[in-house]
């Protein structure tokens, strides 16, 4: 069973100007993480369906949970565009 814990992550949205600290739960999905990151950067970067989450250069399946994706506290994750704007 997946533990339900809070996980702080360093998030970087492509096109943004800074790194953010977002808080997700281990039971949240990668897709939900992407939504949190988009919302956190929304005043600087327009939201889009064109983004995916990347961790250590690997694209994460949006259906995976944070736990299943292997993300742990203070990991760096990126929200990357499918195509360059």
């Amino acid at each position: 069973m997946t533990p339900d814990e809070l996980v702080p992550l360093y998030g970087f949205v492509q096109g943004d100007t800074l790194g953010l600290l977002v808080l997700v739960r281990t039971t949240d999905t990668v897709a939900e993480l992407a939504a949190v990151l988009q919302e956190a950067a929304t005043m600087r970067v327009a939201p889009s369906l064109d983004f995916y989450v990347r961790h250590r250069r690997a694209r994460l399946d949006p259906a995976l949970t944070i736990h299943a994706a292997g993300l742990t506290a203070l990991d760096r994750v990126e929200l990357v565009r499918e195509r360059s704007p």
Partner: protein, 496 residues
């Protein structure tokens, strides 16, 4: 009666031959710095000003008189009241970050006045300490007095005594540079790199801008300060020369380390002022053009003259001159309630100017301002929160500044695991500086680590009010509260 040139060296170059103690006991390495060398290695130390105490007092008295006269003539509230709101923010930024840093430099100079390895070095450092006291008092006297008119000027005194994030970063830098450094590191870091290399940006470059803006008070103040800086900065060169002779690798390390740290500091203080807070019609050069003239040309030539190489990260530094202060400014704009000065939303004309000055990078940065412009247009003036972030931001474990390294397409922050802890660095030079002396830096907690440890609140409003010490009257806002003609006339204005 002896003439000046007959007695000066006798008074200035007065080094004792010790008979009761060892030289190493008088100047222990822990206080004087490494490498420990016998005085013979330092006795050629000299600088061109060769000022006497009498000349120093007379010269400084004259400068004080000139400053007082300018202050009496153009240093009143009414004189500041006519300045552009953006320029006033540049004054608030300068006024809060520089004077108390100068006060810390008094300590560094006094340590050199006691533990510097040659008597002429010690004499010049004593003048340096007096200089820095002056550089503390003048801006405090002029700018803090404006607190009754604008409460944000309270931060002229207040910043360094708070846990506001710029203060945390500034103390991390200044404490090591000015309070903790031994005389050798202080001479290289402060006198050579910071003062010879970088203060020209603020004290010469910004003085020229102040002239254009019509701020005679600021212009004269920083010019007067620069005349002192030019003198005591001379301490660095002869120390570096001896250091290069005896330990070139260490000399190169100190230059590389302090060049990067100084660059980050001035990118905030001078970069914001020159490219964003100065009214467009008064801008003479971009921040990068000033950096090109004063740093890339002059400083690079100087380090070659001392037999040193450019810092190993030179290509990264050059690239960052097109990005770093822009990314940090846009970030600060969208977290403006976390600072003590107001920020300006660049309009179409300013963005066109920035596009012209930064042709290789601005196209990546401009969409952020398009987005902010659209949101201001959607909210209307006065609605600050709609263009303001609420999510906590990440800070570099070395420089303690926001993670704004690299480019919008590829932020350069890197997480490093060490002794079971995770650190994050905004850039490779910051990671390298940390790795050279982890015992010096590892215990310092970033704002994020303080939040996660329960030492600081995670809620932004609580963080700003309770931990940073800002109030609604003092926290930063849009300099014009969203009242820009271009928001009405040119929807979604772009740089084109």
């Amino acid at each position: 009666m002896l003439k000046r040139q007959e007695w000066l060296d006798l008074a200035r170059k007065l080094d004792w031959t010790y008979s009761y103690v060892q030289e190493q006991d008088v100047f222990p390495e822990a206080m004087s710095g490494r490498p420990w060398l016998e005085h013979a290695a330092w006795q050629a130390w000299d600088e061109p000003y060769r000022t006497t105490f009498a000349e120093y007092v007379a010269g400084q008295h004259e400068k004080e008189g000139a400053i007082t006269a300018v202050r009496d003539a153009v240093g009143k509230v009414a004189d500041f009241d006519r300045h552009d709101r953006g320029w006033l923010s540049a004054l608030k930024l300068h006024g809060a970050t520089l004077p108390l840093a100068e006060f810390a430099a008094v300590i560094g100079n006094l340590r050199a006045a006691r533990f510097g390895r040659d008597s002429a070095w010690r004499t010049t450092a004593a003048f340096g300490a007096l200089d820095e006291l002056r550089h503390t008092q003048i801006p405090l006297a002029i700018l803090h007095e404006l607190v009754g008119w604008d409460p944000q000027f309270d931060w002229t005194h207040r910043l360094f005594h708070t846990n506001e994030w710029v203060a945390v970063a500034a103390r991390h830098f200044v404490d090591e540079l000015l309070l903790g450094a031994n005389p050798i590191e202080f001479a290289i870091a402060t006198n050579f790199v910071f003062e010879t290399g970088f203060t020209n940006l603020q004290f010469v470059g910004l003085s020229a801008v102040a002239h254009g803006v019509g701020d005679r008070m600021f212009e004269k103040m920083v010019q007067s300060i620069q005349t002192d800086e030019a003198r005591h900065a001379q301490i660095g060169g002869p120390v570096l020369r001896t250091l290069v002779e005896h330990d070139k690798e260490y000399a190169q390390y100190l230059v590389d380390k302090w060049f990067w740290r100084s660059w980050l500091f001035f990118a905030v203080v001078t970069g914001f002022a020159m490219d964003y807070l100065t009214p467009l019609k008064e801008r003479k050069q971009s921040f990068r053009e000033f950096v090109g003239e004063w740093i890339i040309e002059q400083f690079e030539r100087m380090i070659h003259e001392y037999g040193l190489a450019r810092p190993w990260y030179w290509a990264e530094f050059i690239k960052s001159t097109g990005y770093y202060h822009h990314l940090l400014y846009a970030s600060a704009y969208t977290y403006r309630a976390t600072v003590w000065f107001d920020l300006v939303l660049p309009g179409p004309d300013e963005r066109a100017w920035l596009a012209e000055k930064y042709p290789e990078s601005w196209a990546e940065i401009d969409p952020v301002w398009s987005r902010l412009t659209e949101r201001w247009q959607a909210s209307g003036p006065g609605v600050e929160w709609y263009t303001h972030g609420v999510t906590p931001v990440g800070f570099c474990s070395l420089c303690q500044l926001v993670l704004c390294g690299g480019t919008p397409a590829e932020n350069s922050a890197r997480v490093v695991e060490r002794d079971g802890r995770r650190f994050i660095f905004c850039s490779e030079p910051c990671a390298w500086i940390f790795e050279r002396e982890p015992e010096r830096y590892a215990q310092h907690l970033t704002i994020v680590e303080r939040i996660l440890a329960g030492q600081a609140p995670g809620n932004l409003i609580e963080l700003v009010r309770d931990y940073f010490g800002l109030t609604e009257a003092t926290w930063g806002k849009d300099a014009h509260r969203g009242h820009y003609s271009f928001l009405v006339n040119a929807p979604g204005g772009t740089a084109e």
